[in-house]
Amino acid sequence: MTTTAPPYPDVGHEAEPRGLISWLTTVDHKRIGIMYLVTGIAFFAIGGILALLIRAELALPGQQFVSAQAYNRLFGMHGTTMIFLFAIPVLVGVGNYIIPLQIGARDMAFPRLNALSYWLLLFGGLVLYASWFVPEGAPAIGWTGYPPLTNAEYSPYAGVDLWAISIIITGASSTMGAVNFITTILNMRAPGMTLFKMPLFTWSVLITAFMILIATPMLSGGLAMQLADRNLGTSFFVAGEGDPVLWQHLFWFYSHPAVYIMILPAMGVISEVLPVFSRKPIFGYNAITWSTIAIGVLGFATWAHHMFTTGLPPLLEAFFILSTMTIAVPTGVKIFNWIFTMIGGSLRFTTAMMFAIGFISMFVIGGISGVFQAILPIDRQVHDTYWVVAHLHYVLFGGMVFGVFSGIHYWFPKVTGYMLSEKWGKLTFWTLFLGFNLTFFPMHILGLLGMPRRYFDYPASRGWTEYNIASTIGAFLIALGVMFFLFNVFLAFRRKEVAGDDPWEANTLEWATTSPPPVYNFARIPEVTSDRPLWDARQKLREAQGHAD
């Protein structure tokens, strides 16, 4: 692997502290980032196993091996795990590791708060999984936890309380992380790095952090009200005295922006990966930045499209149809800019690039099916069917997870100092790509055929069996793809192919330091003159070498 030495001071490694205690007491953003990533991937594996159990049950009509109530627990825990313990934390992990390096800082603004955020996430996850061990077990309420199902009358067991508490704890973790990201990005950038010279990944994390800060208290407040209803005799969400639909407003005011909270950092990853492997500058830096800001703002004006079937006033229905369609505009701007970044470029089809292209193609499918659902008559038809399950997985798995895999393959050499195998990387990509489409594409058809989501069984006479079998085979292919990825990581530590400081000839500051970076990141804080400082530095180096020749 050839490496272009960046013209920034490269100093030797400080001796890193070792041992378990050093990890328990660390406040280093890089170690905390790694802990977030490992925790997020572990919960991804657990949530994935739950998904396999769900798919195994649904493969054929009739009860296979879990009861209806156990099935209810499985899909509720799957959703909660994937959203709150994988999707959000894993991107926080990538951000934690990369952001200070990318803006030329030595750490996050509040290192101890950063550590507190991580530990809260872990403990929040443990509280959720502790619910399996209380009488009557884990909550059987889905990840949305709608009253009256969650009221003490219908779910009189501690698992539901633990579910609510765990989400409040992970929400506190996210909020503290958001404060840290905003302060770090606004105050600790390298000299010369104005806002519009910031890397696009940093921009996406900044906007995401603002969204977390605004949205999360709504959910935490709603969950506190649920706990009060269940334990203190209040009736915020009790029909007749309070209003169960109020919960849906509070929940979706958080959970629709949460889709963008999950997807924006993944979009940021794509905006870093595409120009590097197209060997040309990103097309439309300003357009991508402003569309990120627009998504951040519009993301708060679309929540009630999840509630069209609750009977909103017609004026509100019209507003939310319009706002939902409008948000497709900045998203489309990004997609066109990414495509134009690739056009005319000298493309390198590395694994990171393959996942980035996979992200775009799958996210477009998820986005278009989302625009369908914005149209009220279609929404009423497909609401609570497998169409919606297909749509959300195309956005969150095809979009966000492919973005995460792209980022992991891109930054793995920086974090570990070793290269992943491209052969195993591509095998991972194709297995996940095929498995993903085999799992989720048939769900569009199942939805249109009327198969309701959240049901543990279906009659053989409905003609849904073949699609369900295909979907289940696809789910096991996804599991195989994840195993290929884990094997590739294992192989990287075994082969120890040294990556060098900048194996991709990348553009941003994290590649200006050693791989892995020293504890202090940079011996001297670099000065920045454009949004791609390493590109500039290489150009100067080449020009100087040209003159010397």
């Binding site: 001071p9 100093v11 030797g12 400080e14 502290p17 050093s22 328990l24 007491t25 660390t26 406040v27 280093d28 030595r106 750490d107 290192p111 101890r112 708060l113 550590a115 507190l116 991580y118 530990w119 809260l120 872990l122 403990f123 929040g124 443990l126 509280v127 501690a158 309380d161 633990l162 508490i165 409040i168 704890i169 506190a172 706990l227 334990n231 020293p518 504890v519 202090y520 011996a523 001297r524």
Partner: protein
């Protein structure tokens, strides 16, 4: 953590890095137990104890 001094730059630079601390872990455990106190006063008591200890350690730089 001792502040590392970079020797091989043009001139030595002192870099200030934060000390490791167990306080965030203890505060997080305290917050978690305090919230689960909804289910049991024992958990609530344990949580408040841990929270007070962690905040004290944090405040005094431990």
């Amino acid at each position: 953590m001792n502040d590392p001094i970079v020797e091989n730059a043009e001139e030595p630079i002192e870099i200030h890095l934060p000390e490791p601390s167990i306080a965030p872990l203890i505060v997080a455990a305290g917050m978690t137990f305090t919230l689960t106190g909804v289910l049991s006063p024992v958990l609530l008591f344990l949580g408040i104890l841990l929270l007070a200890t962690g905040i004290g350690m944090w405040a005094f730089g431990k």
